[in-house]
């Protein structure tokens, strides 16, 4: 639940998706994430790796959708421009670190 909250707030606060777009993102990300957890191999992926993968996917999703909406133009919000200029994987690692600090 805490992870879901982080993903939602990332999409809304950093990537500035609307609540409806965020609902859609969660609907798309959930089945992908469930499939990721079932990928072949003798051992399942460890929880921490799964969590980072989900954060990374959420950032990639938010960035792609926002860039598509901007149609190649710069945003009027410099904070959004800053977030969009970062690689999603790198941004996800920052979020993961913040999450790790918050966990008991």
């Amino acid at each position: 639940m805490r992870l879901q909250g982080v993903i939602r707030s990332t999409l809304v606060s950093y990537y500035l998706l609307t609540p409806e777009e965020t609902d859609g993102a969660e609907e798309d990300l959930l089945p992908w994430f469930l499939r990721l957890a079932r990928r072949s191999g003798s051992s399942p992926m460890p929880p921490k790796a799964l969590r980072l993968a989900l954060l990374s996917a959420a950032c990639q999703y938010g960035r792609s959708l926002q860039m598509w909406k901007l149609g190649g133009r710069r945003s009027t919000d410099p904070r959004l421009d800053d977030v969009l200029s970062r690689e999603p994987e790198e941004f996800a690692v920052d979020l993961q670190m913040r999450l790790d600090e918050e966990l008991p």
Partner: protein, 368 residues
Amino acid sequence: MNGGRVLRFPPRAMPPEEVETSADRILALPPEQRIEGADAIKLEQPELLLSVCARLHERLDASPATVRDDAEHLYEFLRIPARPIGLFDEREYFLGELALIAGTACRHLSRREEARLWFDRAEGPFLHTVSATADLSRLTYQRLAVRMEERQLDAVLEMAPPLRESFEKLSMSIDALKVGFLEGLALTEGGRLDEAIDLFRKICTKAESLGAERLAAAAYANLTQAYGIQGDAAHAIEASREAIPILKRLDDRIGLAKVQWALAGMLRETGHVAAAVESYRAAQEQFDQIGMRADVAALHLVIADLLLDLGEEAAARQSVLEALPVIQELQMVPEGMAALQLLRQSLREERIDRPALRELHGYFPEAT
């Protein structure tokens, strides 16, 4: 601002019951109907591909030849034209996974060059998955298994521990145990039987504690072999009794054939030569049914050696004659070419060069 990849927003997922039915349907179709069938079933749905890959993994030990063909077919279906698959890294994941499955099946069939080619095909896509570290580690395991089958024992003993540690760091316990197998096999082949037995016993205990019964059965099969080579019939039979019921239940035909091979080795070591020949022939028949021609050929050489002990020279020559074309065709022992030539020359003189025969079958691992 950097250029961004605009994601495609996928259609809704297939219901689970439809996924299972469709996976069975696509694998039941004859190859010539696959493309049409795949289009109709919408095979590019990631839920369906996941289910198909799981089925192929399950069938690897029972029908490697069929799995190889199925995996190749599906790989080509996904590769050309470049169909969009699921979200994010799913296209790369499925391409890598199908290539890994095809390569693993080729390895089981001793088609090692082809296996290497498939492993190379898997590497590129796997570099781009979110699970790249785990996926590439699984690929490294398969490459190491090929080295084991080529009897590169020093390389296996050098490379296995770091790979095992890598799996342990990733919390991939089963895969870590599988690497332990390769170490155990290298120790067995290198004649370090006490160390091998100690390792396989640990693997049995750990696999049972993890509920990994396929792995536990395989570890007992390898214990059968190691005890057999030591001539310890009681322990070999005890280990085989642990392995066989599980292997039968799992329809692990490769595993069963290997246990048969190991028991034959035990009979040979304890001086029961005629019984050993019968047992080796039973294993050979099982390998033949699975399409594992390299193992069939290797067993022809072992049987020929024992037939010489029994004074059956004509039957021994026949056995060697059946093996040689396969050994040549599959290029099974590039390092044993001199022995192969000597053996061939002796057969032309209607005799068997026994040192050459023994040198040649010494290049084949025992029931790995």
